[in-house]
Symmetry: C2
């Protein structure tokens, strides 16, 4: 088991939480224009309620170099609290370029895990997997409406949808036990199928809240036999719970409510934190 | 026809060139450690021999914030010479996040075109396509060995390989005529098929040189009826043609040789620059 998975399990148990807070700063939605200060307040207010934080690269890059400086400060703020950093960057490129992206994610940004896009095939993931102590989270069935366009197409000879073929291949590539998957909360039956095919991989599950995914169904379909290995990701519903000066306090309340919702469902499934 | 395509055609005609130089700085291969100075010398030495420059984001991000500052300087150097900037970033994410990535590519970096990954479906491309004066270049059959893993799987009721289905969908989404495609030079028969399905889209063709793609076959299979609309991309064979002080001069010679090879094949096909 990779160090990333050990640390993820430990963080989930310590905080009795499968919640991952997405840090997606979008200036028009924010109560202030200082991304590092905004994120630091959210992190301080929620770090003991989560298993990980997930900054999405796009929202930092959109602000240019100052946004990328804010990403650096945000990652530092997460690490200052001992938190895990899932860099949501959905990278994917040919071997030599993937080597540069892996270096960027795991050295320049020092992320604990990164999301990657499998479209270009297995060799595009190898440079990420070479960082055996980190996590590489592979997109399968995503949470957006367009997830139907290609991910759900049936693949010829196997008679399975593409996202299942990706999941099966990810299992084969997982020799260092450092691969995880991404499955949208808006597709609970696909999530269940992915969990059957990958009984112990960590699964990042975005899409509850603003995107309309079902929290309970995601927990039920997503957890492994021990009631672990999912990261239920929520962003807008937490970080923009209030647009006023009480935004951090409101974020804590919103995070606590989702964490409790997850734990209630875990209880109904017979899982208890210990 | 979008402004991007007009500008691409004009640059190709002006310089009588379908060559695109990939600016992929990798410090161990470079004769110096100053990325902006290195790139500026390459740009100055080759700008009149190319139709576009293609910086690959990964190689800048791998160096952290100083690398991203170097990307900013590189884009400025290209624009100072009136060149077109293809930002090779292979982005792809859900709608709201894709909006941030499109803003990053077309506003923060001010790229003329950007490469995107279609795995997550059509709605992930819409925010890019909304920039009607820019180009959005969609991955189809890539140049790496793993391009076989998923892109070539037969899918859906049509029994076509995934890259063909992506190409067909891209044609449907192309209402503003601002979509292009990416096809590897290592897959000339797939390139031919893509050109049949998309008779006039610009096609970015990486993979000649270090990756072993066939230059003549790429030209033959790739150009449209007028002998235009391909960007044959080469990077390592040009920018690292010499590791000594004469690297810019060597890059010019290497670029000129590929340009002549392309033009010789265009001549055999009966196309002449005018």
């Amino acid at each position: 088991m990779s160090l990333f998975i050990e640390r993820l399990d430990a963080a989930a148990r310590r905080n009795q939480s499968l919640l991952c807070v997405g840090l997606d700063p979008w200036l028009p939605s924010m109560p202030m224009f200082d991304i590092p200060a905004f994120n630091r307040a959210i992190i301080d207010a929620t770090h003991d309620l989560v298993c990980a934080f997930k900054p999405n690269y796009a929202f930092y890059e959109a602000e240019g170099l100052s946004g990328l400086l804010a990403l650096e400060a945000t990652i530092k703020a997460i690490k200052d609290k001992g938190g895990l950093v899932i860099l949501d960057a959905k990278r994917g490129d040919i071997g030599s370029t993937a080597t540069a992206y892996a270096k960027a994610a795991f050295e320049a940004w020092d992320a604990d895990a990164v999301t990657v896009n499998p479209y270009m095939g297995g060799d595009t993931l190898e440079p990420f997997l070479a960082y055996e102590d980190r996590g590489t989270l592979v997109l399968t069935r995503t949470s957006n409406p367009g997830g139907k366009d290609f991910e759900e197409l049936n693949v010829g000879t196997e008679g399975r949808p593409l996202y299942e073929v990706v999941t099966k291949r990810a299992q084969e590539w997982n020799t260092a036990s450092n691969i995880g998957l991404v499955v949208g909360a808006t597709a609970p039956s696909e999530l269940k199928r992915v969990r059957e095919l990958a009984p112990d991989m960590p699964i990042l599950i975005p899409g509850i809240g603003a995107q309309g995914g079902d929290l309970e169904a995601s927990v039920r379909s997503g957890v492994n036999a021990e009631g672990l290995r999912v990261m239920i990701s929520a962003s807008r519903g937490i970080i923009y719970a209030s647009k006023d000066a009480d935004y951090a306090e409101a974020a804590r309340k919103a995070a606590a409510a989702i964490r409790e919702g997850i734990n209630a469902e875990l209880g109904r499934l017979g899982h208890q934190w210990q």
